[in-house]
Amino acid sequence: MTHKRNRFPRVIISDAVVFDWVLLIGFVVLAVFAVNYNARARSIPMALGILGTVMVSFQLIVDMFPPLRRKLGFVVESGLMADQKEESPTETDNVNSAEAGNYGGNHGKGRTEAIQEWVKILRLIIWIAAFIVLLGVTHYLIAVGLFVVLVTRIEAGESWIRSIVLAVSVNIGFFILFNLILNAQL
């Protein structure tokens, strides 16, 4: 069993790996879509797309298979200002870390904790998206007031009174800054 595990290192699927995939797709799009432009216009984005794709692929391999860090040492090489021990964990460190359930990339968080945090971030993104929609259809003071009240109450868990007081204060501050001082047409 041990022999097999050494030959075929366990695949780690962490949030860091997901981010690597996002970057990889971004660079592939950069390289592929560059073909549509004239030779001069495509030269730089295509070069960047190809370089980025190659580099992120190596990063992905290292993040998915931590034991390969030693073989692909150039990927984990630190900048001159880095603490070598901190930034370049050893093969054993990584395997132990992964086996202990630390799937969250460099920040050493557990998988459940990382998922919980991303859910919180997703909820905040949805709140902001709702704010943007509201900003498009109503006056900005209504959008700002509602966002502050609801996010402070629901996401931050503050009391209704505190949330409303904060929203009113922010609205007054914005009105003074944007409408009275900057005379912005919002």
Binding site: L23, N38, Q59, E77, G79, Y140, V144, T152, A156, V170
Partner: protein, 498 residues
């Protein structure tokens, strides 16, 4: 440049410039005091407000804010052992023990004087170097500017704290993003995917707001609790004793100011490194190093002098070459571009008054923040007791509304959100945000000069001009340096084992 000295001073002192200086200084100080927030955040938030403002006033507001960050961050470092910014971390080592001994006033007096004089030292160096540097810059043509942009990005990747590989990936990402939109050299419209909004490319103001404000607000929301858990309720006295201590240790102050200036000039190193280098120097050069860490005033003077003198140093490459010396400078460079100014030799020839206003503001802002800090430290530090859950929605709103304010376009708000999430993920997984910012700012220049070189000289244009060739060799050498160092260490280690 010096002939504009008097008109610049007049512009600086004409109403409402002093009001903008005060506002900028107060805001910068506030952001400096709040841990997690700092120079890039306050500059990104102020950028939309400066839109359409006279350039002189916008510079006063932005530089006023920038100049007060470092000392603002030192106040909570001394009083509650919580540095407001990374560049004030070393001040904690002796500042907080002094506060515990009831010498908070001495520490704040020393920090205020040292940072104020350090800033003046940095401003003098900047004033002396700019005219000399202008002659060097005039030797530059398209290939040199291209090589300089590439070198600036490489330095940031190499000196970054995290992975070198990720630093280069981040730079590629930033450069890739800068190719979006209408290309003035080739006339092509790239990567807009049928969206009119992207024709102008990635707008710097909403991108910066996302990279610094939205990402930090997301981070704050996850952190919860209060920013600082400790409180400080004692009196602050003995300030004059601290002021005198700086003059008693003037040699140390001067040496650390020089360290700050030199580190500031190197792109990408930044204040977090400067204050530790200066503190380390103070310890090493002391006859009684054992007193450091126990409340030695020299442990406050050294990092504070370096912290503030580095701003003058960091402005040298920013103004001379358009290569930012630090993260704050990258955002500031973006602000100059948004204002229609082009940092570099042309700016110094065409707008010497603006450069002098900038230098005056740097000095006056630091004097003002020192005075405000000394008298208001005890009150100001209470800001850090605010729960982050109340602070984060305000930062969200300030950022998003700031993005909307610039052009009144919802696309800008969406762009801020996208960049905010991207920056949050980058920070979490160790990808350098500074590389993305600098690539975004320098991307257009790099592309333009790349094509202009090709048109004029062909590919050999990058290598036949001596200066361009030197810059290329330096860049390649820098990128290889960490690998060569590693190989050398491994070889040395192996030899010693044998």
């Amino acid at each position: 440049m010096y002939e504009a000295a008097i008109p610049a001073l007049q512009a600086m002192l004409t109403w409402p410039a002093p009001l903008y200086l005060l506002l900028g200084t107060l805001l910068g100080m506030l952001f400096g005091i709040l841990p997690g927030l700092g120079g890039p955040q306050v500059l990104a938030l102020l950028l939309p407000i400066t839109y359409g403002m006279p350039v002189n006033l916008a510079i006063v507001l932005l530089v006023g804010a920038m100049s007060s960050i470092a000392f603002g961050g030192s106040i909570p470092a001394i009083l509650i052992n919580t540095p407001g910014t990374g560049q004030s971390a070393a001040t904690c080592f002796d500042g907080f023990p002094m506060a515990k001994q009831g010498k908070a006033g001495v520490a704040i007096g020393a920090a205020a004087t040292s940072s104020c004089l350090g800033a003046i030292f940095g401003a003098i160096i900047l004033t002396v170097l700019l005219p000399i540097g202008r002659r060097i810059v005039l030797l530059f043509s398209y290939p040199e500017f291209f090589m300089l942009a590439v070198m600036g990005l490489s330095v940031i990747a190499v000196v970054s704290k995290g992975s070198l590989w990720k630093g280069v990936v981040a730079a590629c990402l930033g450069l890739g993003l800068s190719t979006i939109g209408y290309d003035p050299v080739t006339g092509s419209v790239r990567y807009t995917f049928g969206t009119d909004y992207l024709w102008d490319g990635i707008r710097l103001v909403p991108a910066f707001i996302g990279l610094f404000c939205i990402s930090e607000a997301l981070d704050l929301f996850l952190r919860r609790g209060k920013i600082a858990e400790k409180s400080y309720n004692q009196k602050i006295g003995g300030v004059m004793q601290g002021v005198k201590a700086v003059f008693k240790n003037f040699g140390l102050f001067l040496r650390c100011s020089v360290i700050g200036c030199i580190v500031g000039i190197i792109p990408g190193v930044g204040g977090a490194v400067t204050n530790f280098l200066a503190y380390g120097h103070a310890v090493q050069s002391s006859k009684n190093p054992e007193s450091f860490g126990t409340g030695d005033v020299r442990g406050v003077i050294a990092p504070e002098a370096a912290n503030d003198s580095k701003d003058g140093g960091a402005l040298v490459p920013t103004l001379l070459f358009g290569i930012p010396g630090s993260l704050e400078m990258a955002v500031f460079l973006g602000a100059l571009i948004v204002m229609g100014l082009e940092p570099g030799p042309r700016m110094m020839m065409e707008n010497p008054q603006i450069i002098l206003v900038l230098i005056y503001t740097l000095v006056l802002g630091n004097i003002l923040v020192a005075v405000l800090g000394i008298f208001g430290a005890r009150v100001l530090v209470k800001i850090t007791y605010v729960p982050v859950t109340l602070l984060a929605p305000i930062i969200f709103m300030l950022g998003l509304m700031g993005a909307y304010l610039t052009n009144g376009m919802l696309g800008d708000v969406v762009l801020s959100l996208v960049f905010g999430v991207l920056a949050f993920a980058m920070k979490r997984f160790g990808f350098s945000r500074i590389a993305v910012v600098i690539a975004l700012v320098l991307g257009k220049l790099a592309q333009k000069t790349f094509h202009q070189t090709l048109m004029l000289w062909g590919i050999k244009g990058f290598f036949i001009r001596p200066l361009s060739l030197i810059l290329f060799i330096l860049t390649a050498g820098m990128l290889l340096l960490p690998y060569l160092r590693e190989a050398w260490l491994r070889r040395n280690g192996n030899t010693s084992q044998v």
